[in-house]
């Protein structure tokens, strides 16, 4: 039963999209013969390559920011004593479950030219003209970090929480100072958490098409928007499928790296 289900809704769509990526299209048919490699050749066109590059750059910046913001936070949280720990965790989970659309919309209201951020900055006399933040890559980056930060914090938290305290004490006893302990013991031990969090942030950052759509400008087209465009605007399904396949391949590579560096019990934290 479950195998049928998975074949029908897991495997079959992926097979279809792979097949579709090798076909062509015309004005009367969405997908049609003959078989061709043209779609993949077209993606290698410098214009599309630029979008890949931009997506990588923005998603990478987003992942790095999330890591920098999230690591100390997860560390502090993991070291807090119970009852407070559960309460703080709950407070972190709540935004995780609110609709990301609503959260993006909130960011939009925050950074508008006549929004509250500009209002505060102008009242404080830091700027005299409103900052034109909305409809730029900065806005997209801010919204992405805001939306995806919890995805970084949760795996980090669970991997730091599982750290064996005795190892840290042993390092201390052997004469390591705080910085060395952190760099040589804590960071390597929480590496699975870092990797898991990075995957959970990096991939959605490239594909959440509604965030660049709402907050980005003309120069904020990411991979997700490209796929959305190819499917729903230019109606070039084969090309869109090929882009999707490339994205999936990228995911599998990242997953492979993660698999290599983690143990089975760590993988739980991806949940």
């Amino acid at each position: 039963m479950i195998t049928i289900w998975l074949t029908l809704f897991g495997l079959l769509p992926f097979v279809l999209i792979t097949v579709a990526s090798f076909l062509s299209h015309d004005s009367r048919h969405l997908i049609t013969l003959p078989f061709t490699f043209n779609n993949y050749l077209e993606i290698l066109n410098p214009i599309y390559f630029k979008i890949f590059e931009k997506s990588f750059y923005l998603a990478g910046a987003c992942t790095l920011l999330c890591l920098l913001l999230g690591y100390p936070f997860a560390y502090i949280l993991a070291r807090t004593r119970e009852p407070y720990k559960s309460l703080l965790m709950l407070l972190t989970i709540v935004p995780f479950w609110t609709s990301s659309l609503i959260r993006s919309y909130a960011i939009m209201a925050l950074i508008k030219a006549k929004g509250i951020l500009n209002g505060i900055l102008m009242a404080l006399g830091i700027i005299d003209h409103p900052l034109q933040l909305l409809f730029s890559n900065t806005a997209v980056l801010l919204a992405l970090v805001y939306n995806l930060l919890p995805f970084m914090i949760l795996p980090l938290f669970s991997s730091i929480e599982r750290l064996d305290n005795r190892l840290i004490e042993a390092a201390r006893d052997l004469g390591a100072n705080k910085t060395t302990t952190f760099l040589k013991v804590i960071i390597p031990l929480s590496l699975p958490g870092i990797l898991a969090g990075s995957i959970l942030v990096f991939l959605p950052a490239m594909t959440l098409f509604y965030i660049p759509d709402l907050l980005g400008g003309s120069k904020s087209m990411l991979l997700g928007n490209l796929i959305q465009n190819q499917f729903l605007l230019t109606v070039n399904w084969p090309l869109g499928s090929a882009t999707s396949i490339l994205l999936t391949v990228m995911m599998l590579i990242l997953l492979g790296i993660y698999w290599h560096f983690s143990k089975a019990k760590d993988r739980q934290s991806l949940l």
Binding site: M1, I17, L101, I116
Partner: protein
Amino acid sequence: MKRLLAPTYVTFIYCFFYLPILILVFYSFNDAHYSLIWRGFTTAWYQLLITDQDLWLSAIHSVFLGFCAATFATSIGAVTASSLFRYRFYGRKILHTSIFVLLLSPDIVLGTALLIMYTLANLPLGFFALLLSHIAFCLPFVVLTLFSRMKSLDKNIFEAARDLGATDTTIFFKIIIPLLWPAILSSWLLSFTLSLDDVVISYFVSGPEFEILPLKIYSLAKLGVKPEINALCSVMFVVTLIIVMTSQFILRKKN
């Protein structure tokens, strides 16, 4: 000074999490049509929200869809997880891995792939297309949540039950479900919220006769800031807050 650093940092992050939403709630009481400058307190947007039939209809659609998707995903997921846990069969590893990959595959890929499939199968985009897609993306979450909970169960219970003559069905209904019900309930709630919040997959597989709330909010948001959406988002925030709190409460109580 050093002792204050950690609490300050934590507070800063929480502010980052909650301030934008609070600002949104604040603006939902603002008496201005387009701009975001404060022009006095009003509940007019909430009144408008109550009388907006289209929004209510799409909200009902979303809840109905979420209810169906969560119920089916949880029941199918419970069976899958228990058979993954109890039987060693050919392809078990592959199944486990593929669920994992499905869980991590980008929503947009799943959405476009399902769109292609429905088009080829001639299934009209609408309620059933949405329902099947939502079950498809909720299922991996349910299976993995339940599976990891089952690992903490004592395998001897099943042996004992079988020795006492229980059938597979009896074991499922009398042992697995009672032992796992908090996990089942929380994965139902998880699926429900996932379904309620999904934009990316629904965007590709929805049709004209069955509009759902997230897509309605998306199209409204694309048309620019409207105070009515602020009110709607505030209401939705409070609803999600209640659901999350409830599910956490249930889980914690049982632990």
